[in-house]
């Protein structure tokens, strides 16, 4: 079966088993290895991507369900040569990244969260991270960086529609 969708703003065509997990296509066919396949059960969040702007686990998303959708991976948020997403910039400034395994998923979950919840409290930030497990246990610094990101956006007056790339 042929499935077509937008991947980081470009047309993507997949011809194969429609029940293939999206994460496998991203990593094995498109070589977008920022998306990590860790638990493959939706518990760890390392495979989180945006599908039509919603942060979802790509390990449990059969590619057949993304027909016609827009998929954004960590590589689509910023290539690294471009200006970073404000959240990525805050993570870098706060030196919040440890081993880096959970981080692409963490950024994808929380970038959607800060976009939709510009006035989020610290407990709300923590609740948004429930599905993203960090085995380096660096949670507090991540929460600090998200709170700083929201503070900076508030001060810069960017919060009417939330934070966007």
């Amino acid at each position: 079966m042929v499935v077509t969708f937008q991947l980081n703003g470009e047309d993507c065509r997949f011809d194969g088993d429609p029940m293939t997990p999206l994460v496998d296509i991203l990593r094995q066919e498109r070589f977008l290895t920022g998306t990590k396949a860790v638990c493959r059960e939706g518990f760890c969040g390392a495979c989180t991507v945006h599908v039509d702007d919603e942060a979802v686990p790509s390990c449990l998303k059969p590619v057949g369900l993304v027909q016609g959708c827009a998929v954004t991976t960590i590589e689509g948020l910023s290539s690294g040569n471009q200006v970073l997403h404000p959240l990525q910039a805050n993570f870098e400034a706060a030196d919040a990244v440890q081993c880096g395994m959970c981080f692409p998923g963490m950024v994808m979950s929380l970038s959607a969260f800060v976009r939709d919840n510009p006035h989020a409290s610290r407990p709300e930030i923590k609740a948004a991270m429930v599905g993203n497990i960090c085995r380096c246990t660096g949670y507090e610094r991540i929460v600090d960086a998200v709170a700083d990101c929201l503070d900076q956006a508030r001060k810069a007056g960017q919060l009417v529609g939330g934070i966007h790339v």
Binding site: M1, D15, G16, D17, P18, M19, T20, P21, D24, I25, Q28, E29, R40, E41, G42, F43, G45, T48, E54, A55, V56, P57, C59, L60, K61, P62, G64, L65, Q67, S109, F113, A127, A128, V130, G131, I133
Partner: protein, 285 residues
């Protein structure tokens, strides 16, 4: 990656189209969060699936003055947002907003939660039992309405030739609460769940999930609560009655053994009644 597998995948745009695919033997695919883990459980993915996400009628929540209709393909996240302002459904909202984790809640559906036969820890099942929900099934012969208790009891047989399309709720609750006990604070399967609702006739409806293989009403406790002297909705008294009328056989599982699931129930009942008393509907008590 199994790119060479020849699999039939139908994205149905109508219920009739979905039924036609079911007739051909296709399995129903909703959010995929349960089915996509079949290979991890040593089960092959179905050779033919029919996806429901393109059927508009199954993806909406209709809130009327006296009833609510929930499409089977509505996600937990959408359900929680839709009912947040609907008085009496606090328990169902807590179930929808507390299950699993945010990413799963954006994908996992109401129908999937009720139709995953081996998923004892489904949050929506006890919450909908406490609402006395009615399940609408589409069969090859037409549609059929069934109380959720009967649906949960008979679903292995029912789902061989029917699919869940909608859930119907009466708006007859004045308050409800949903208390779950996960081993971590959040994000994993609950050891036990108690859903507690009070209807307009001041009748308590109590349901338990995750303790036995299938969620069910706690009728022994409901009867004891009804027979008790006023004020019946006292957290401590409710916990004492729960201890006295605990008729559950706990299931052993990797998160917890059966005796523990059973033993925590009185504490969860106490928490549920305390949560009920904080709702707007019961603030007058």
């Amino acid at each position: 990656m199994a790119a060479s597998v020849e699999r039939l995948f139908t994205a149905a745009s109508t219920i009739e189209e979905a039924l036609a695919a079911r007739r051909q033997g296709a399995a129903v695919l909703a959010g995929g969060t349960w089915m996509m883990r079949d290979p991890r459980r040593g089960v092959d993915l179905p050779e033919a699936v029919v996806a429901l996400h393109r059927i508009p009628a199954l993806s909406k929540v209709e809130i009327e003055p006296d009833h609510v209709v929930i499409g089977a393909a509505v996600t937990h996240a959408v359900l929680g947002r839709a009912l947040r302002a609907a008085a009496g459904f606090e328990g169902l909202v807590a179930a929808a907003e507390g299950a699993a984790n945010p990413g799963i809640r954006r994908v996992a559906t109401v129908g999937g939660n009720l139709c995953a036969l081996d998923f004892a820890a489904a949050d929506l099942a006890p919450a909908l039992l406490a609402c006395e929900a009615t399940v609408e099934l589409q069969t090859f012969e037409g549609s059929r309405l069934l109380g959720i208790s009967d649906f949960l009891k008979d679903r292995p047989a029912l789902l061989t030739e029917a699919m869940v399309t909608r859930i119907h709720l009466r708006r007859d609750l004045i308050a409800s609460a949903h208390i779950r006990l996960p081993l971590r604070q959040a994000g994993d399967y609950p050891v036990a769940i108690v859903s507690f609702a009070v209807d307009k006739d001041k009748r308590c409806r109590i349901a338990v999930g995750s303790v036995e293989p299938v969620a069910r009403r706690w009728t022994a406790l409901e009867q004891a609560m009804a027979a008790g002297p006023a004020p019946a909705l006292d957290p401590k008294r409710a916990a004492e009655l729960a201890l006295e009328h605990n008729d559950f056989q706990g299931r052993d599982g990797k998160e917890a053994e059966g005796w523990y699931r059973r033993q925590v129930l009185p504490t969860l009942v106490r928490r549920a009644v305390a949560a009920l008393l904080k709702t707007e509907g019961l603030a007058w008590l």
